[in-house]
């Protein structure tokens, strides 16, 4: 039985400590240990990015990071986007433009869109498509998602 390892991760601004097996994936730490089930497991093969979160400001697949590797890092999940009970501008834009159908990929889409807009305040249509190119949606055909990100960029109040 491999030794368990103590970690301290700041998740959505809260410091969370745990003692974990090295093989525990960050996504399972978030969902099962912390109960943050907004981050989805879509494929478990590192293809779909439904599990996207920000780690130290960069969007990553939380199913392709070990929880021990997140020790000392800042993690932002979809639960951390809204503030004071108000949806974040990116979430509002997805709501307004119907940027989802079944909603399963949406947490990952939101995190990729949020990461893109933090780095690029006014992305072109091509830059948006490239920015979300790692996130797979099986319902929408992406058009409404791209429109949602465009709206979030226009209505930028953050």
């Amino acid at each position: 039985m491999p030794s368990k390892i103590p970690i301290a991760v700041t998740v959505n601004g809260n410091r969370r400590q745990a003692v974990v097996e090295p093989r525990l994936l960050l996504v399972h730490f978030l969902r099962e240990d912390l109960g943050l089930t907004g981050t989805h497991v879509g494929c478990d093969t590192s293809n779909c990015s439904a599990c996207a979160v920000l780690m130290d400001e960069r969007v990553v697949k939380s199913c392709t990071v070990l929880a021990v590797q997140a020790d000392g890092k800042n993690i932002l999940t979809v639960e951390g986007l809204a503030e004071g009970g108000r949806l974040h501008a990116v979430q509002q834009a997805f709501l307004a433009k119907h940027g989802l159908q079944c909603g399963f990929c949406t947490p990952g889409m939101l995190m990729s869109a949020y990461a893109l807009l933090r780095e690029n305040r006014h992305p072109t249509n091509d830059e948006i498509r490239k920015g979300i190119s790692g996130n797979i949606c099986r319902c929408t055909g992406y058009a409404k998602i791209v429109e949602s990100v465009e709206r979030a960029a226009r209505n930028r109040n953050w």
Partner: protein, 291 residues
Amino acid sequence: MPPSFEYVSPRTISEAVGFLSSGGDGAKVIAGGQSLIPLLKLRLASPSLLVDINRIPGLDGIEEGGGLLRMGALTRMAEVEASTLIKEKYPIIHDAAGVIGDPLVRNLGTLGGNVSHGDPNNDMPAVMLALGAEFVATGPSGQRTIRAEQFFTDSFTVALDHSEILTEIRVPRRSPRSGGCYLKLEQKVADFAIAAVAVQVRLGEAWECEDVGIGLTAVGPTAIKARRAEQWMRGRKVSDIQAVRELGRLAAEESSPATDIRGTAAYKKQVVRLLATRAFRKACERARGGL
């Protein structure tokens, strides 16, 4: 869920090398983890010890000095893609960095990992063959350099000893009238290439091809250096359309693709032929436009 393993996160290279030496065959380096963790989840790899090099300072960064471009092995693909130095002076590396995996993979995936994983589908090996790169390996008895053309020995096998870590990638500094290009044909984002070709060219004063390096991705057990195509083109006029066609034909001949879900072997050879001629032309265009 991956199989069980022990995990260490050393703060120095020598400490990491020590863990690899004492860990035996079951010890494995983890860098960006974007190839290794998927393999662990599929249980295609089952190391007994992971040595995480992410917390070792000084292993990343890109700089020119002493006639070389030096890139730390832990440099993330996103940093390579965003580097102005790389974009302006080493466009072949910029081309490749932007088509590896997807944006999330590039945020963690590293340059060193992409070459030392030894996957013939990875993009950087062909680029490094075209550029004539050297890899710095750090092990128990110090450092040694390994030339790219001696590095990729078989599928998922490279010339690193079990307790060595790839720490730096060195590329000859850009010379005047040189340019490069990497072209990849893929079915969808984050898939491996159907085929891809890397070309780095140096032109002479009369715009003849003074030297050329050609690397092929995903069409053999390792990345392939297309030596006969290179040899053929040296000294020839780059405006000689027949000569460039022959370069493509030779590169295709040197490839040995397998028929799989991405296409038949015959189709992939045609892709190599086309991409090689196109990448050569683009590399020449960049060489003429540059220094």
